[in-house]
């Protein structure tokens, strides 16, 4: 059918429904256009813009065979309390069919404080496992073969230290560093912009990140050195377009920092990975995944002149949207997570964490975690969504939406370039303000009823408080502090002192790669707090920019 004929048909259709234009006052956010046709994608060149899986611009997926080769990695984020408790949960997950580990650390660990620091009071073991030194890391991975498992660690400001501990544990297991597989999040820019667990100011933070890029390209080549994260930007309230735009802008900043430090783009770009949120609007999310791959491929090819295909591939881990879980009628969350899973899978994710129904209330119980993992398995094996590659390609709506999100993302990226890049945009508070404005708008839409959240502002019921939530005992903190004290009494304190002095000297010399020095310190059982303390002394601490 020619475009003229389609246009004529569309006009006739529009005339016929003109009077019947449905008004959905309670669904004010739905797209204005009710029907999409070939006319909406008439300017989209299939070969240039959509193409084939495993080929530039990777709109349809980064691997040629996608889930026809193997499913995504079902990776469940877990960790709480002590290393021994978390080790038990990890082994339970591996026995249940999880194919990758994902470590959650408690907040003192994420901010580089030991469990016995006064600021850690009340936080030890709460949102993840407490790691003070190599001794805890050894327990965390006890009886888990680091040569076989792939481990993702949600750690950012002190990522270098935790990675060093992982390498040291592997050494003790007899696994060489070049066999290690996994990811550290290591994405400090989104910490400033959205997640809040920063330590040092941007400049030394960017140095630590490029040090890791450089060290790993030589010594831990299978390791994903960064997971550039839109997840938390979305959780903080951004829109889908903002999520990928701000994250890709961060990615550009990391590449520029690494290139400035003397690395070649193709030496590290293949180890960059991304982290998206799978939110509620299924088709918008699918379009977002597709658009993000296309934008990144263009950035790498046109801006950085990457040559290796791997450098141009946006490989992504996904987590279902934690902020969309409701405390009201928590079992409804199972359905939300299932739809979000469908979106991530149709969007072509490389790995996925599914949230548990009770996470708006507390850490998930074992039973809830099992349902969340089973959700992935049902989508994989039963739903048919993983049977063909990029099944929504060619949908007039999804292709048009992919174009729209890409366009909006470029507008933001250009704006951030004008400001002077992601670091400057964060220092000016621009990115934070954009996110906050979107978050506020979302909340006001929910409160006015323009947006419906089932069980929250519509279809509410009287509920009994949920039972059987997981609680981390307050005694965990006491026990962990005792472990730490015992460890300190046993270690060679002279060796620790020497290693920390050496690290301090290295920090002061901007041309020195810090990784070997950190690894050195970790091996002496210097604690995370001691190591980060030395770096705090030299680098100072970041002060947040808030513009409400």
């Amino acid at each position: 059918m020619s475009n003229e004929k389609i246009q004529a048909g569309l006009d006739k259709y529009n005339a016929s429904v003109e009077k019947a234009t449905a008004k959905f006052p309670e669904r004010a956010h739905i797209p204005e256009q009710r029907l999409y046709t070939p006319l909406d994608i008439k300017d989209t060149d299939y070969a240039d813009e959509i193409g084939f899986p495993g080929m530039y611009p990777y709109t349809r997926g980064v691997q040629p065979t996608m889930y026809r080769g193997r499913f995504w990695t079902m990776r469940m984020y877990a960790g709480f309390s002590t290393a021994a408790e978390s080790n038990k949960r990890y082994r339970y997950l591996i026995e249940s069919g999880a194919t990758g580990l994902s470590c959650a650390f408690d907040l003192p660990t994420q901010i580089g404080y030991d469990s016995d620091d006064p600021i850690s009071e009340g936080e030890v073991g709460k949102v993840g496992v407490a790691i003070d030194s190599l001794a805890d890391m050894e327990v965390l991975f006890d009886q888990i073969d680091l040569g076989k498992v792939s481990t993702s660690m949600t750690i950012n400001a002190p990522a270098s230290v935790l990675l060093a501990m992982y390498i040291a544990v592997a050494e003790k297991q007899g696994v060489p560093a070049d066999q290690l597989k996994g990811t550290i999040q290591n994405d400090i820019l989104k910490e400033y912009a959205a997640r809040g667990t920063y330590i040092f100011p941007p400049r030394p933070s960017m140095r630590l990140i490029t040090n890791i890029f450089e060290y790993c390209s030589k010594n831990v080549p299978k390791w994903n050195t960064i997971s550039i994260s839109g997840y938390h930007i979305r959780e903080a309230g951004s829109t889908a377009s903002q999520e990928i735009a701000f994250t890709i802008a961060d990615g550009i900043a990391y590449c520029e920092a690494a290139i400035k430090a003397g690395l070649h783009i193709d030496d590290f770009a293949g180890r960059l990975s991304f982290f998206w949120n799978a939110h509620n609007n299924v088709l918008e999310e699918v379009a977002k995944f597709r658009a993000s791959r296309r934008v990144w491929a263009k950035v790498m090819k046109e801006r950085f002149h990457a040559e290796k295909p791997k450098s141009m591939m946006l490989r992504v881990h996904t987590q279902t949207a934690g902020s969309m879980l409701t405390a009201q009628q928590p079992n409804n969350n199972i359905i939300r997570v299932a739809l979000q899973t469908a979106a991530a899978v149709m969007g072509g994710t490389q790995s996925l964490h599914t949230n548990s129904r009770d996470e708006a209330l507390a850490l998930p119980t074992e039973e809830s975690v099992m349902i969340a993992l089973r959700t992935q398995q049902i989508v994989a094996y039963e739903s048919g969504l993983a049977d063909v590659i990029d099944p929504l390609a060619g949908s007039y709506y999804v292709e048009a939406l992919t174009n729209k999100i890409e366009k909006e993302a470029w507008e933001y990226i250009n704006k951030i370039d004008e400001i002077g890049g992601a670091v400057a945009a964060i220092e000016k508070g621009y990115i934070q303000k954009e996110i906050q404005d979107s978050a506020y708008k979302w909340q006001m839409d929910v409160e006015s009823g323009a947006k419906t959240i089932v069980g929250v502002n519509k279809f509410q019921i009287e509920e009994e408080p949920p039972k059987g939530l997981l609680k981390v005992d307050a005694s965990v903190g006491v026990a962990q502090c005792k472990r730490l004290a015992d460890m300190k009494a046993k270690r060679d304190n002279e060796a620790v002192k020497a290693a920390l002095a050496d690290l301090k000297k290295a920090c002061q010399d901007e041309n020195e790669n810090l990784m070997p020095h950190i690894l050195n310190a970790v091996r002496t059982y210097a604690t995370l707090g001691e190591i980060c303390g030395v770096m705090r002394e030299v680098f100072g601490e970041y002060e947040a920019h808030v513009n409400l």
């Binding site: 901010i111 009340g122 708006a360 507390a362 850490l363 981390v472 808030v546």
Partner: protein, 130 residues
């Protein structure tokens, strides 16, 4: 007289999830309150001292990490010790229903859990500030 309700919005503890705190801060401003926002990683001592210097009517805290049983009561005690006996202290965040009675016992006037409309918080403050 030109009295305004003054609210200190603070995040005690170490978690960086300030979406809720910021949305609440803006909603309180839009309700005509004066909001002093102190941001992340505030110790109970800092919060109490800021409440004193700013002579606020309300201290509103948000915690998502689970550290509330430890930190909320500590703030209440410190604020009261400073002689601010009539300050309304409220909390919010990921807080299990079962923890709420103990928090109220400790002097937290009200606990707002996820999904609470900001209007409810505004109404509560208006009804309870002395």
């Amino acid at each position: 007289m030109e009295k305004r309700i003054r609210v200190l919005v603070a995040k005690p503890g170490l978690d960086g999830h300030d979406r809720g705190a910021k949305v609440v801060a803006r909603a309180l401003r839009d309700a005509g309150f004066e909001v002093i926002y102190t941001g992340l990683r505030q110790t109970p001592e800092q919060i109490a001292e800021a409440a004193l210097q700013e002579d606020v009517n309300v201290v509103a805290m948000s915690i998502l990490s689970g550290a509330h049983p430890h930190l909320f009561p500590k703030v209440v005690n410190l604020v009261r010790e400073k002689g601010m006996t009539d300050v309304l202290i409220i909390g919010g965040g990921v807080i299990p229903e079962t923890d709420i009675p103990a928090l109220k016992e400790a002097g937290i006037a009200e606990v707002f859990t996820p999904g609470t409309p900001t209007g409810d918080i505004v109404d509560f403050i208006k009804a309870n500030v002395k």
